[in-house]
């Protein structure tokens, strides 16, 4: 059927401009595709590809270093087959193909893809509605973090049982590698994914993201990458830490392919998501939402997108080069044939450090976003918050080599990189200033989200101060590669990042699910995790000071005590996190129903109904004032207007 003129001129989903004439019929195969067909396609194609490769590869095939290549080729074929088959089965290629042949997605198709009248089914489909994508992101990210947390528990168990060795060294190494990269991926996604997709368009008063289909694409690329990562555990694992330094990675079993393809796919997903978020924020803010009226969380997500966009390709290409080293026997990272280990380290850390801020800035931003609501006062010095974020983004690309002080790649470069690294403490300091300035004289409404912010600021301070030691070359000469580093970046990424994510989820939970996150259970989980966190990583600092190298499964007796304590703390964290998870589960199913604006917030996302209707706002809102317009006139300041000599006493006796 061809679509009639009435539909043509109507606003097509996510945009207010009239569409070109619709060609081609609505409906078609894409309406029958869902996660199930994706799994079928992925597993099916993977099986076929692996089987065929196993047949055509001569079992005698070997690289020039006698490595039996058959498992490598088969595993590679399986991974690629899974990826292509899964995306096919999800229907990711429908849109592009129909664009090429000029049969555009019709209006009714667009609405169907947006999940209109699909009920729960839309969560299992290639749905373009940003709210659905946000929920999907939340679930998948929590699964990834759970997987990484499981490995963390096993690692700490191994390190705690100092009298015996539970796992083989190889398996221990593959655990630390997989734990690291899985945590990094999960942490990158846990805020920008759920909150960035679900909340940001509503926060800026838009009906959806700029490119709804790219939104779904980024999610399902991410989903397709997860099984690749997990599968590598069964192919010998990633035995080289999360930064798979070459040439050690060239000795790893085929599991390394899982890592490389995961990163290649995940980098595409990040680029797509970043482009989408940036375009949305730049072009779709509501009328009157000038930059000074844009909430700080939007700034945070935008900054994270910028850094992800320019930094991830370096990591991706590093892995592509490594892949071609392994499969095509090139020699980018093979020093025997003119490859350089420093090349990999530079490419890796060109992502590696901005990525830290990709995790940190959104979590700080969400903390700053919710503080004014619970302290009933405006954000302290909004433009300093913006300046802090902008400063971090500006410096983020100039500090990567502080991870390479001790590699000797360019001793002279240590001076400028130490300079830039310690300069970055100034914009980060701005964010802390804004936080404490907002706490200043505020009447704290001590609900779970705000309490989490206290934890975030506390951990952020410790992480920041210990970071100053590591940014300084002389001190780093002792701390580099020791447990001290591990404790430091866990304070940053987990203490600030993950607790910030918990704050954000607790804050936006009523808007996302229509129910409150259970206050009691949630708080118990949060503070259990917090206490365990301090125990674990404080004692890890001690181990580092004593001189325990990182990534060792066996160590001198002098480190036993601190490792025992650290392990106990880790178990406490695990329990706390599980309690928090159970709070999410129970509240989602049967929590206390929340009104559309339970926190009495004044920003846009809370002004629409809960559950949020398909296009968010019946009529697009118009912004007339700055955000965070809470608060009463300051009594002290008021008195200056009636200045007289006994003012001093009056104030003094207050």
């Amino acid at each position: 059927m061809s679509v009639d003129a009435a539909v043509e001129t109507k606003t097509v989903f996510g945009s207010e401009v009239p569409q070109p004439p619709q060609h081609g019929a609505a409906g078609g195969v894409m309406r029958r595709l869902n996660f199930g067909t994706g799994l079928v396609g992925g597993i099916g194609l993977a099986t076929i590809a692996g089987w065929v490769t196993a047949i055509i590869t001569p079992s005698s095939a070997s690289s020039d270093t006698f490595a039996p290549m058959e498992p490598t080729y088969v595993y590679l074929a399986v991974l690629l087959g899974w990826f292509i088959g899964f995306m096919l089965g999800m229907g990711a290629f429908v849109g592009p193909l129909r664009w090429v042949v000029g049969r555009d997605i019709t209006h009714s198709d667009a609405e169907y893809m947006a999940g209109k009248d699909l009920g729960r089914k839309r969560y299992w489909k290639y749905t373009t509605d940003h709210k659905v994508v946000g929920i999907q992101y939340l679930i998948v990210a929590m699964l990834v973090l759970g997987f990484a947390g499981l490995l963390a528990m096993l690692i700490r168990t191994e390190l705690g049982m100092t009298w015996t060795s539970l796992f083989t060294p190889s398996f221990y190494n593959s655990m630390i590698g997989t734990h690291g990269i899985a945590m990094i991926i999960g942490m990158i996604v846990i805020i920008s994914g759920p909150l960035g997709n679900f909340i940001v368009p509503m926060m800026i008063g838009a009906r959806d993201m700029a490119f709804p289909r790219l939104n779904a694409l980024s999610l399902w690329l991410f989903v397709s990458a997860v099984p690749m990562l997990v599968s590598s555990m069964f192919m010998g694992g990633i035995q080289d830490g999360w930064s798979v330094y070459y040439p050690l990675a060239a000795q790893a079993p085929p599991g390394m392919l899982g890592y490389q393809l995961t990163i290649i796919v995940f980098a595409i997903s990040t680029a797509v998501a970043s482009v989408n978020l940036m375009t949305t924020i730049l072009t779709m803010r509501a009328k009157g939402m000038t930059w000074s009226r844009t909430p700080i969380f939007v700034y945070g997500i935008f900054a994270a997108s910028v850094m992800g966009l320019y930094a991830f390709p370096f990591f991706q290409y590093a892995q592509i080069l490594g892949l071609s080293d392994r499969v095509f026997n090139t020699s980018f990272f093979d020093p025997l044939n003119g490859g350089s280990v420093w090349l990999y380290e530079n490419l890796f850390w060109l992502l590696g450090h901005p990525e830290v801020y990709v995790i940190l800035i959104p979590s700080m931003a969400v903390a700053l976003e919710l503080m004014p609501v619970f302290l009933r006062k405006p954000l302290f010095s909004f433009n300093f918050a913006v300046a802090g974020i902008v400063g971090v983004v500006a410096l983020s690309g100039l500090v990567w080599a502080h991870h390479m002080y001790m590699t000797g790649w360019a001793p002279a470069a240590n001076y400028p990189f130490m300079l830039s690294t310690e300069l970055i403490s100034i914009p980060v300091g701005f964010l802390v200033l804004v936080a404490i300035g907002t706490f200043w004289r505020g009447t704290a409404w001590t609900r779970l989200p705000l309490m989490a912010v206290y934890a975030v600021v506390f951990n952020k301070m410790i992480g920041g101060v210990t970071g100053v030691y590591l940014s300084d070359v002389p001190a780093d000469q002792y701390f580099h590669g020791s447990m001290f580093v591990v404790a430091h970046f866990h304070y940053m990424l987990m203490g600030a990042g993950l607790f910030g994510a918990m704050a954000g989820i607790a804050f936006f939970f009523p808007k996302m699910t229509g129910r409150f996150l259970d206050e009691r259970i949630g708080s118990i989980g949060l503070w259990t995790a917090f206490v365990g966190f301090q125990i674990t990583f404080m004692s890890m600092f001690v181990a580092g000071l004593q001189g325990q190298p990182r990534r060792v499964l066996d160590f001198d007796d002098q480190f036993n005590l601190s490792n025992w304590i650290s392990t106990i703390g880790a178990y406490v964290i695990g329990i706390g996190m599980l309690i928090f998870l159970s709070a999410i589960i129970t509240s989602w199913r049967s929590g206390v129903l929340a009104s559309s604006n339970p926190w009495g917030s004044k920003s846009l996302e809370w002004q629409t109904a809960t559950p949020v209707p398909l296009e968010n706002f019946p009529v697009l809102p118009v912004v007339t004032d700055r955000p965070y317009d809470y608060g009463v006139p300051d009594p002290y300041e008021v008195e200056f207007d009636s200045t007289d000599e006994d003012l001093t006493e009056k104030v003094g006796t207050k």
């Binding site: 006062k377 000469q477 004593q546 608060g631």
Partner: protein, 285 residues
């Protein structure tokens, strides 16, 4: 985009607003101000012992055994001291906002709002200036210390030329999976699996690897540099303390990374010479 700037328009200051210094004085008379400052000082003093505890941790196995390690510990000590006040201030505000200023519970948003402090020029300026000064101090200190450490590591080369100076002992350090070997080229290639160092004599390390990246970490000497395949990295040290110390690999290098460790034996010069003689090297000059 809008033409508006990022800065939200400041509320117009009343004409009879007192001058800044007086406002500070008035501010100090506010009930919470002194409390926070006192809290700040108290927390600061509670944190102060950290400066020594950190060193205690680092000195457990006999460090510092060289000038470099002394510099490192000095840096750690100073950084701890200077970062305590600002940390204590943030903690003080956190504590006071929970215990000092009012806080409410309950399911409904509190009826009464807090004072609308959109910004505070004095506070912002104070913070910016102090944090910038702090960062600048850290940078300058770091650069100076780094220059000094570099001098200490490579002074051994200079020592070769200087007359009357004890000449440097050159040691070729080879890392490979998962053992260290130390070659003394000046003693017809005498090689050992334990690192023997002469006391108070500059030592100059050439470091390389035969397979993957290792990291040559002489813990108590504060020496650390990567052993890279296909490249030679250099460093140096002057051990100034007798005893047995540790070499550890500080870069993941495969299955037995945890076991890639060996000993450092710092010996008196003559003991060192006799070791060289017994193990087949020529007598040192």
């Amino acid at each position: 985009m809008s033409t508006e700037t990022l800065i939200p328009e400041e509320p117009e200051a009343p004409t009879n607003r007192p001058p800044s210094m007086r406002r500070v004085k008035l501010w100090l008379q506010r009930p919470y101000a002194r409390k926070i400052l006192i809290l700040n000082v108290v927390i600061g003093f509670l944190l102060l012992p950290l400066a020594w505890l950190l060193l205690a941790g680092m000195n457990q196995t006999g460090a510092p055994a060289s000038e470099i390690m002394k510099d490192i510990e000095q840096t750690v000590f100073v950084f701890t001291i200077v970062s305590i006040p600002i940390t204590a201030f943030v903690f003080a505000v956190l504590v006071y906002s929970l215990l000092g200023w009012r806080h409410v519970t309950g399911d409904e948003p509190p009826m009464q709002d807090s004072p609308a402090i959109r910004t505070n020029r004095i506070g912002v300026i104070l913070w910016t200036v102090s944090s910038t000064l702090l960062a600048m101090f850290l940078v300058v200190w770091g650069l100076v210390e780094l220059a000094q450490i570099t001098a200490n590591s490579f002074g051994s080369i200079a020592a070769n030329e200087q007359p009357g100076q004890k000449s440097a002992e050159i040691i070729n350090v080879t890392g490979q999976q998962w053992v260290w070997t130390f070659e003394y080229p000046e003693h017809n290639g005498l090689t050992s699996d334990v690192l023997y160092l002469p006391l108070d004599r500059p030592v100059y390390f050439n470091v390389t690897s035969k397979d993957v990246i290792h990291n040559f970490w002489a813990v108590e000497l504060g020496v650390k540099v990567d052993a890279n395949p296909g490249a030679i990295t250099q460093t140096g040290v002057t051990a100034n303390k007798l005893g047995t110390f540790n070499v550890r690999c500080a870069e993941l290098c495969g299955m037995h990374h945890a076991y890639m460790q060996t000993q450092i034996q710092v010996l008196e010069q003559d003991a060192f010479d006799s070791w060289v003689r017994e193990s087949g090297g020529k007598k040192t000059s």
